[in-house]
Every structure is written in structure tokens, then in C-alpha cells.
Symmetry: C2
Subunit: 365 residues, 2 copies
């Protein structure tokens, strides 16, 4: 079992990575003197894993119950959050209740937000079941809901008591979920670790190699979060590829394009913008694109949105500063810089070129 510590000043916590680490949950609940545990999951993960988790808690003598929401991005909504608030009230939740988010990024963001806001803050544990959640979304205390105007427009910073990344869960992970995980892992390497990028570009890791890569990505994420918990500067580098990625998802409708492919296309655009603005050599962007291609992340979207629609979605990006969208740009493999302003015309030109390239590669056209 690998342990990555988030040494936050107010309250440090650990990310545990390894097969079977979910069984530590009963100890976490006892250490927190939790009156009861409420596990929040989605209906797919609930049937596969969360019901087992609740059973294991019962067997360990911990009072626990399960709340589920429909699977998919649509559940990361104000309506579902309100439903969960009511369910928590019905289950007699109080400040001694421990919430557990068992699932992927959607469940982690949603359950984290509900925990952050019920009774002005319940303690919670992240039990990520997807590769993406293990390397990224379960770590760092960002919680969120989507609005129709854009992803993650609502949320709170609320750090978990612990993150238990149980590698057993990866055995049942669908291929599309692996894809999304690889996109975030490659992003992590591209912005922060050239050695990791080299390793990933050489061979797709599995088994113990995968465990190492997850641990390394968790370390990178932890380091960035500790340096900038409230996302006021440095943490923004993790948003590389997400500015256009979110706009693509908003424009095409959540789910039309996997999050992984949306981020991958966003990385291609961000890389080209970096070259165009003289921030990085064309070779760096090309190396990035080749790796994304090798991991199968550059299949074109089923529809390519018009620029006007993308521009409208970009106008709602919550990282805007005074009406100006800020971009994370690449400097070289392993190093990126946040907070850059880019002329909208340049964004348009590069995006249209990249999208035209995507269309040209589509076997259906």
C-alpha cells in the first residue's frame, strides 16, 4: 500500500493506494467517532461495489446506509444535490455523520458538495472507483455541481478525511473510463513530470507499473494542492486542456464526448496555442499529441461544434478574470504556466484548425 500525504496546514490527510484499501474505511469511521456512515454512490457502482462496502462496514460493527443516484454526469446537478440533502435529513444525519463518496468523479464531486453544505459541513471520505478519480478528482477537496451554463460552476472547497484508492475496483472498470483516466494521467505528466511522460510514451503501464503511475500522479496532485489549496494561482496548471475541454462538453452535451477525449482535444488546442504564442517548441506539442494518439484519445467527436457555440461556452468558464478567459499554456514537456491571456481570434483560428484536422481524420467523412 502506497501512502501520499496531503500536508495541508489546517488538517493533513492521507491518500492510500493499493488493492483492498477500502477495508480501512471502518477504522477511519471509528477514528472520526462517526455516529453513522452514509455511503453515496451511483446505481451502477452501487450494485457493483458500494453495497459490498456497506456490508463490510456492518460486518465491522459500523452503522452504515447507502444512498444512490442515477449514473452519469446528469446527476451532478442542483436537483440531485437537493434530493440528497433531503435524504440525509431523513436518515437523521447530524454533525457526527461521516459521508463516503464511493464512485467516479461525478459521485465524488456531488457527494463532496453535499457533505460540504449539509449542516455547514459534514466530514467525508473519498473512495474513488475509477482511474480518473484515483489520480485526480478524489484528491484535493474540490467539490462541484454543473449548471446548464457550464460544468463545475457551483461548488465548495472541502477536504476529505482520507482518500482510499482501492485498485481492486479497476478490474471492473469499463474501457471508456480507462480512456478518461489516461487523459488525466498524460495531462499530469505533460504539465509536471517529463520523466513520467517518457515512461508513459514508451509503454502503457499495467499491474505494478500502473500502481506506480497512480501513486506518482497522486503525489503530483498533492504537491500542487498543498501549494495552492484555494486555487488562486499554481493549482490552475492542473486545468491544462480543460478550458476548451469543458467548452466542448458543454456545447456537445455532457456524455456525447467522453471527458477523456474532451480533455485530449483541449490539450491539443492548448499545445497549438502555446506554439503559436511562442511559449513552447512545436516538437513538445507534437510529442504530446503523439502520446494522446497512442492512447487512443484523439478519435474525433461525433459532431464538431461551430465556433460561435464554443465561444459562448468559453464565456462561462469560471476561471475567467474580469471577462477574460485564462489559459494554461505548455512551456516544455513537464512544465506549464497558468493564467495566460490569449487573443480570442487566436483561440478561434487554432481551434478551427485543430477541429478541421479532427474532421479530416474521421473515417466517416
Amino acid at each position: 500500500v502506497k501512502t501520499v500525504r496531503l500536508a495541508l496546514p489546517e488538517r493533513p490527510y492521507d491518500v492510500l493506494i493499493g488493492a483492498g484499501v477500502r477495508r480501512r474505511l471502518a477504522d477511519v469511521a471509528r477514528q472520526a467517532r462517526a455516529g453513522q456512515v452514509v455511503v453515496i454512490s451511483d446505481q451502477q457502482v452501487g450494485a457493483l461495489h458500494a453495497a459490498t462496502l456497506v456490508g463490510e462496514l456492518h460486518a465491522a460493527g459500523v452503522a452504515a446506509s447507502l444512498l444512490t443516484v442515477p449514473a452519469g454526469e446528469g446527476s451532478k446537478s442542483p436537483v440531485t444535490a437537493a434530493h440528497l440533502w433531503d435524504e440525509l435529513a431523513q436518515s437523521g444525519a447530524d454533525r457526527q455523520t461521516l459521508v463516503v463518496a464511493c464512485g467516479g468523479g461525478v459521485v465524488g464531486d456531488l457527494a463532496g458538495f453535499v457533505a460540504a453544505t449539509y449542516a455547514r459541513g459534514l466530514r467525508y471520505v473519498q473512495v474513488p472507483t475509477t482511474l480518473l478519480a484515483m489520480v485526480d478528482s478524489a484528491i484535493g477537496g474540490k467539490t462541484a455541481l454543473n449548471l446548464s451554463a457550464g460544468k463545475n460552476l457551483v461548488g465548495a472547497f472541502h477536504q476529505p478525511e482520507a482518500v482510499l484508492a482501492d485498485l481492486d475496483y479497476l478490474r471492473t472498470l469499463p474501457p471508456a473510463e480507462y480512456e478518461t483516466g489516461w487523459a488525466e494521467i498524460l495531462k499530469c505528466a505533460v504539465v509536471a513530470d517529463a520523466a513520467l511522460f517518457g515512461r508513459l510514451a514508451t509503454q502503457r503501464p499495467s499491474g505494478a507499473g500502473l500502481e506506480d503511475v497512480i501513486g506518482r500522479c497522486a503525489e503530483i496532485k498533492a504537491g500542487v494542492v498543498v501549494a495552492d489549496e484555494r486555487d488562486q494561482g499554481a493549482r490552475a496548471i492542473l486545468n491544462y486542456g480543460h478550458t476548451l475541454g469543458h467548452a466542448l462538453e458543454t456545447t456537445l452535451g455532457y456524455g456525447a464526448l467522453s471527458h477523456g477525449r474532451a480533455v485530449a482535444w483541449g490539450m491539443v488546442v492548448a499545445g497549438q496555442l502555446s506554439v503559436r504564442l511562442g511559449e513552447c517548441a512545436p516538437e513538445a506539442a507534437a510529442a504530446q499529441d503523439a502520446a494522446l494518439q497512442a492512447y487512443g484519445l484523439l478519435a474525433p467527436p461525433s459532431t464538431i461544434p461551430r465556433w460561435e457555440k464554443l465561444a459562448g461556452a468559453l464565456a462561462h468558464d469560471k476561471k475567467r478574470v474580469g471577462g477574460d478567459t485564462r489559459w494554461v499554456l505548455l512551456q516544455e514537456i513537464g512544465r506549464a504556466v497558468p493564467g495566460r491571456s490569449v487573443p480570442l481570434e487566436t483561440v478561434r483560428t487554432v481551434t478551427e484548425e485543430v477541429m478541421a484536422g479532427a474532421r479530416a481524420r474521421d473515417p466517416r467523412t
Copy 2:
């Protein structure tokens, strides 16, 4: 103009009290380098005051717009919060947007919660327009929504940039709102300031006397908040009278009983519980009750709920610890103690006695 400083470690801020202090808002917005100001109000206060406030901002060269919700406790809901999140997105809000809560406790709690959670936290200013909000709810950073299971079950801690308590607003305040303000002012004196209580019991203050009293209550509130920002102990004394008060409001339906009368009856019950448990002399509770009576706060509720319903509402109190409702008890006028456990049978006996007394006093029975 009186200034009360909230010397919080992370970021201090001021409460300004005086006629015309709302005009400082443009300066606050400029100091915060706000890109735009979004004023949130209700339809009543919006027409009376918030539209003027927006006009004054425009005149001072600050970009500002107004969002309104229906007046009344019903707007402190997840549905209205979701509506305001969408409206903020439509108005192009970003992290440079400054939210202004212009209204009473409902608007302050709702707009504060929306500001706390939009883009994981927008800065905001409280511009309280009621006596209650000036002495209590606008100070201290508690934000909240109600659920059907109980008041304030959802919320966040989010401190404002400033509180501008403009006494001009009190000139148009309806009598029922004064009533609610007096209940909180008397509560404040009863739990924290015997001298203030003596002054209030002698004569109902007005004019400059009222300004002094508001300033003193703001000081008391500020002191308690600074000692216990996250409500983990000492701050709970401000909840005196609110445990049963909230249960009465939940059981009777918000609005059937003014918040002031609900708190006043809750204070009577808390006082009698304190006497019964030997925490305070009967004379202290009697002095409290006489003052509540003198301020016209002990008119009986139109319906007196059955104990079983009140007990159900108490079971959802968010200050419960491990399934046990905690009470703030009186020790003497000017001193209270939080976190006390009281046998449910004692609560029942005392509540039924007090409610029977209320019924006996009702001229209609």
C-alpha cells in the same frame, strides 16, 4: 457612524452602522476591484431599496445589476438557490464579481449561500435592511437554506467583505419585523450583557438609543464569532431560544408564527428548563419573561402544535450530537451555557406547561 471590527485571523472585516452607510458600497466595490456588482434582494425590498442601491452604484460608476426573489422564508430553498446560480451564470459572473445581499435574514442567508458556492466562492457584502439582520444574521458568515425537514439544514461558512447596516432602512420597517429584531436583541442581552438587559427592560430604545443598542449587539455578536468562527462551541450561546423556536416554526410552517415570537417562546421554554435543572434562579427566568412580555413578544401562536410533532422537528435539529439535542441554558441574566443535554421527558413536561400557559393567555380561548 459606528464601526465594529470582526478581527478574524484569515481576513478581518468591518460592520458599519449609521444612517446612509449604504453609500460606502461603491468604495467597497472599488477596493475589491470588482468587475461587476450583482445585488440580490427580494421583490419587496427590491422595489423599496435595492433598485435605489443599484442606481447609486451606477451613479458612482460601478457596473451593477439586480436579481430578485419572492419575499418570504419560502425563498430560502434549494430551488431558489439553483435559480440564482443560473441567473449569475447568465449575467456573466466570474471570480471578480461582487455579490451584495440587500434585505433581511432570508435574503442574507440565501444570497450568502449562493455567493459561497458559485465558482467555489464569490466575495459578497451584507447590506441588511431589517433590525434582525443588522444585529444578528448579517454578521458572522453563516449562510443557509431551509429543507422541508428543518431550517438552516444546508449552508456554508462564508465571511462577507463588509456589513453596511444603514439605519435609514429602519424607517420603512414593518412592525412584525421590529418584533423579530427585538426578540434577537433581548436574546443577546439575556445571554451576554446584563447591563444591556437592564437598559432594555427599563425603556424601549429609539433614535440614538436604538443606534447604540444595535452597535452593542453587533459587538457581542462579533466577539462570539471571533472566539468561535466555525461554531464548534462558544458560538452556540447565540442559539439560545432557537432550539424550540426552530421546531415551532418547522411544525407550524414558516410564516405562521413570526421568527421573533418563535424565538421568544423558545426562550421561555429554555428559561424554564434552566430553572428545572437547577442552572438558574426562577427570578432570572421571570425577569426574562417579563421583558419578552413588555416587548409584546408573547402573544400565543395561532395553533399550538402537539408534542409529538415538536419532538419530530427537534430530532432534525442540526446541533444534535450523536442523536442528542443540545440546549443552551440560562445561568443568570447576562450569562448562558451551551451544549447541555436535557432528558426528553423534561423537555416535554416544560414545553407542555409553557404551551398550556400560552393557551390560557389567549383571549380567543
